[in-house]
């Protein structure tokens, strides 16, 4: 096996070894290091948001609560939502995995604007610090949706101003990342790679970038207006100064609904990669999948009013928003059936990333289909602001996005760290998260249909059973995540060295060594025959991985 030794990655020359010490990381312009820093920061946010969630669930064990005060509960669910959404789910896949993978998939040395990329990370970090500072300032209890008049009343002190500042800053981080990705995909494709030769993960990041650049400024503007309203009483949102609270809802959801697609589109991109590689078959219907990403991004801008069917907005508006909302079902259905068709007659490998993706299919199906209940006007009226909505968006944002994040993390882990994780622990974590997730959120659908409103610190005793199941489920889910974290961290010490291409994938990132050298590729590689063309790839051994063409052992 001398060849294997020669082919073994040269860790000494990898990006991980390129410079030592905190400075070489914190000020690095290398997209891979920035991606890893994002990964650490996002992992910490997930941990923080997760601990908030467990305390919330424990408080809901008894109908009368009692573990924390009502105000304490309100502050906890606010920060749980804000931290999870703004610091974990939105940046999760694009900023951590996207940053690492995007230039590699293009055969490029970095993103188009490496300095902007670092700025974007530091803005994220500053926003995260501001969010944590709200905790020190006594916390906020407004809900992550920040609806006035409640959120902008004089009783809410420094905390709300810090939170609005955090949104503003985090928003810019997201805008800059989106801008960077769009520019990179436009300008840095290698010779021979046309738009329809891009890996679908890049189509997804491109569509995401469009939403980030167009929608996120509205979040910044809304936060700024909220700030000015609170400090100078301009009369924008507060009735007592002559403003309109429903106007805020329009502004808020104009960003925050497309934000759901900022979360789910990259997740869909990961799924497209993984399902093809682990079925050993080209993705089915490439163009339909690529175009459905763009369709979701476009329609996603025109559906925000479905959050406001009972707010008193005009009936005409409600009808139009309902129709457009239901249309999102079509690109989602196209993607789902194309993924399934990709598996048809494939040679399916049940490695951890693929198992996560298989659970994604079931979870995304429920998350998407329950959206029909909420997009349709007649059924939304009773279900709006109940636990049905809580369960629905957790299926999409936690279930689907986090599952895809874990699939992508396991899939690219060997590339990022140069180590193979333990398949056994990976499969255990996938099973635990799947079971725990359903145990947590299926009872919430039932409670919601029965009429339990959301954001309730206390509830009618009739719902005790649903809530207890949910609490047990939350701990099972948490244990799954702990196993995943343990498995990944352990691999850093004990994992077997990863070959350049452990999965037999065809996209360009797998032609760089694992971990890649500091400048990714010695010379700009030529585009492969296709991102999903597996002909000619042969599995040599676990040490060597997959190689293209004939290899003499």
């Amino acid at each position: 096996m001398t060849t294997a030794a020669a082919d073994a990655p040269d860790r000494a020359g990898s990006y991980l070894a390129h410079g030592r010490g905190a400075r070489s990381w914190l000020l690095s312009l290398d997209h891979k290091r920035i991606g890893v820093m994002y990964l650490v920061a996002i992992g910490a946010s997930l941990l923080l948001g997760g601990v908030f969630a467990l305390v919330l669930r424990l408080n809901l064990w008894r109908p009368s609560g009692g573990l924390v005060s009502n105000d304490g509960y309100n502050r906890l669910f606010t920060l749980h939502g804000a931290v999870m959404i703004f610091l974990f789910v939105i940046p999760g896949i694009p900023a951590a995995l996207g940053n690492f993978v995007l230039p590699l998939q293009l055969g490029a040395k970095d993103v188009a604007f490496p300095r902007v990329n670092l700025l974007s990370f530091w803005l994220y970090a500053l926003g995260a610090v501001l969010f944590v500072a709200t905790l020190v300032a006594g916390g906020i209890d407004t809900g992550w949706t920040l609806y006035p008049p409640y959120s902008l009343e004089s009783a809410r002190g420094l905390g709300i101003l810090l939170a609005l500042g955090a949104l503003f800053v985090v928003g810019f981080s997201s805008i800059l990342t989106g801008l960077n990705f769009i520019a990179t995909i436009h300008r840095m494709r290698p010779p021979g790679m046309g738009w329809f030769d891009l890996p679908l993960f890049l189509w997804a990041l491109y569509a995401t970038g469009l939403i980030q650049v167009i929608a996120t400024p509205v979040l910044g503007i809304t936060a700024a207006m909220g700030f000015l309203e609170r400090v100078f009483h301009l009369g924008l949102f507060m009735p007592e100064y002559g403003g309109d609270p429903v106007l805020f809802q329009h502004f808020f959801w104009f960003y925050s609904h497309p934000a759901v697609y900022i979360m789910i589109l990259p997740a869909m991109g990961v799924v497209s990669e993984v399902v093809s590689v682990f079925s050993r078959k080209p993705i089915f219907g490439y163009r339909f999948i690529a175009m459905s990403s763009i369709a979701i991004a476009v329609i996603g801008f025109l559906v925000w009013g479905h959050h406001m069917f009972v707010s008193g907005q005009s009936r005409t508006a409600s009808v139009i928003f309902s129709g457009l909302t239901l249309l999102v079902a079509i690109p989602s259905a196209i993607k789902t059936f194309n993924w399934l068709a990709t598996m048809y007659k494939g040679a399916i490998v049940l490695a951890t990333p693929m198992v996560y993706v298989l659970t994604f299919f079931a979870i995304f199906a429920v998350g998407g289909l329950t959206g029909l209940f909420l997009g349709a006007l007649a059924t939304d009226v009773p279900l709006h602001d109940t636990y049905f909505v809580v369960a629905h968006f957790h299926f999409v944002m936690v279930g689907a996005v986090m599952t895809a994040f874990l699939a992508g993390l396991h899939y690219w882990w060997p590339k990022m760290t140069g180590r193979m994780y333990s398949e056994r622990l990976g499969l255990v974590s996938a099973a635990l998260t799947f079971v725990g997730f359903h145990l947590t959120f299926v009872p919430q659908f039932v409670a919601g249909v029965l009429g339990m409103p959301r954001r309730y610190a206390t509830y009618a005793p009739a719902f005790a059973g649903h809530n207890r199941l949910s609490t047990v489920g939350a701990f099972v889910l948490a244990s799954g995540l702990v196993v995943a974290l343990y498995g990944l961290l352990r691999s850093l010490r004990t994992g077997r060295p990863a070959p350049a291409n452990p999965w037999g994938a065809a996209s360009l990132e797998w032609s760089a060594s694992s971990p890649p050298p500091w400048d990714n590729f010695e010379r700009t590689p030529h585009a492969p025959p296709g991102p999903y063309d597996y002909t000619g790839l042969r599995h040599v051994s676990d040490e060597v991985g997959w190689v293209r063409g004939e290899v003499t052992p």
Binding site: A365, V366, A378
Partner: protein
């Protein structure tokens, strides 16, 4: 659409048993839409999971089956099929659900008598219901099979009135009026919950709606303990006098600087700009905040803005309404 509605209606009979009781005229319609979406979702969910499992079992990579079998990399016909089928289903769902919703949220139908109009005030953390005849109460009283119309407002932050058994919900928003019309169909007492987060005791902002078995029972309750001058109308009359409205607006039809308010409520008024406006709560609110916005034709734009508390505004509305109903 006929046969599909038929099928859906049959499925509704097999609707999930866990739905709350139905106590309003729209609850059955909403549940039929719910059942349709439920079974539609079930079908696709089972299809997706079954295909996933089937493919994993049949096409797993294993010794003797290391390579995929040849199969097309796309099929426009197949892909158009799973574009068109969901599209057709979604269009059908949209049409049905929207029709149901329009009838849920429209004004109560004529012929069923005048609706019972109740002014609802949400405040932290309780509800207040001003019933016709001046009876105010912490819970809502309505009459079975008599249409009711709630006019909601809030004095502090947004609240939302939610009655699961009615399948209805409506936000109460500070600074505007919202409406909720319904017809209760089963006597009894049902919980009212606040569905829009409003702070510390949001989860304890509970009340109930009492559906009286007949009008007589409601009337008996409504007369109980009402002081002659405690009604909204009486308060409205005081506000009308105190705020100086009476200087420019008569209540007996005499023309002064401003239009007389006699029999004004509910009328379509011709405006200075040629358009027409219905005189209702929203019109009243706007005319007090921005008197120049909709000036009645033939009158000068001279009225100053008038600052009122939310409850004073409600009372004024009730008073103007009583003027229109006076013989």
């Amino acid at each position: 659409m006929g046969p599909l509605v038929e099928i859906a209606a049959r499925l509704a009979a097999a609707a999930p048993r866990f739905l709350p009781a139905r106590a309003s005229s729209v609850a059955g319609d909403v549940d039929r839409v719910f059942a349709f979406v439920f079974w539609l979702s079930m079908f696709f969910f089972v299809l997706i999971v079954a295909l996933t499992i089937l493919f994993v079992v049949r096409y797993r990579r294993r010794p003797g089956r290391l390579e995929p079998e040849p199969s097309p990399s796309h099929s426009t016909r197949l892909e158009l099929l799973w574009t068109a089928v969901p599209l057709a289903l979604v269009v059908f769902l949209f049409a049905w659900s929207t029709r149901t919703w329009l009838s849920m949220t429209g004004a109560p139908s004529d012929g069923a008598g005048r609706p019972l109009e109740v002014q609802v005030t949400g405040r932290r953390w309780s509800w207040w219901f001003d019933h016709p005849g001046g009876k105010g109460a912490a819970e809502l009283h309505v009459v079975v099979n008599r249409p009711a119309e709630l006019v909601l407002s809030a004095t502090d932050v947004i609240h939302s009135l939610y009655v699961p058994e009615f399948r209805l919900k409506q936000d109460a928003v500070p600074g505007r009026f919202t409406r909720l019309a319904f017809t209760p169909t089963a006597p009894g007492t049902y919980p009212i919950l606040c569905a829009e987060y409003c702070g510390t005791d949001h989860s304890r902002m509970l009340s109930s709606v009492v559906v009286h078995p007949d009008q007589a029972s409601f009337d008996a309750w409504a007369r109980e303990g009402v002081a002659a001058d405690g009604s909204l109308v009486a308060l409205g009359k005081q506000v009308f006098a105190r705020k100086g409205c009476v200087g420019c607006h008569s209540v007996d039809g005499t023309r002064r600087v401003g239009p007389s308010l006699k029999a004004l409520w509910g009328r379509e008024e011709k405006l200075a700009d040629g358009t027409v406006a219905k005189v209702d709560g929203e019109y009243l609110r706007e005319s007090l905040v921005r008197p120049g916005a909709k000036v009645v034709a033939g009158f000068a734009d001279v009225m100053p803005p008038v600052a009122l508390e939310e409850r004073e505004l409600q009372a004024l509305a009730a008073y103007l309404q009583s003027l229109a109903e006076a013989p």
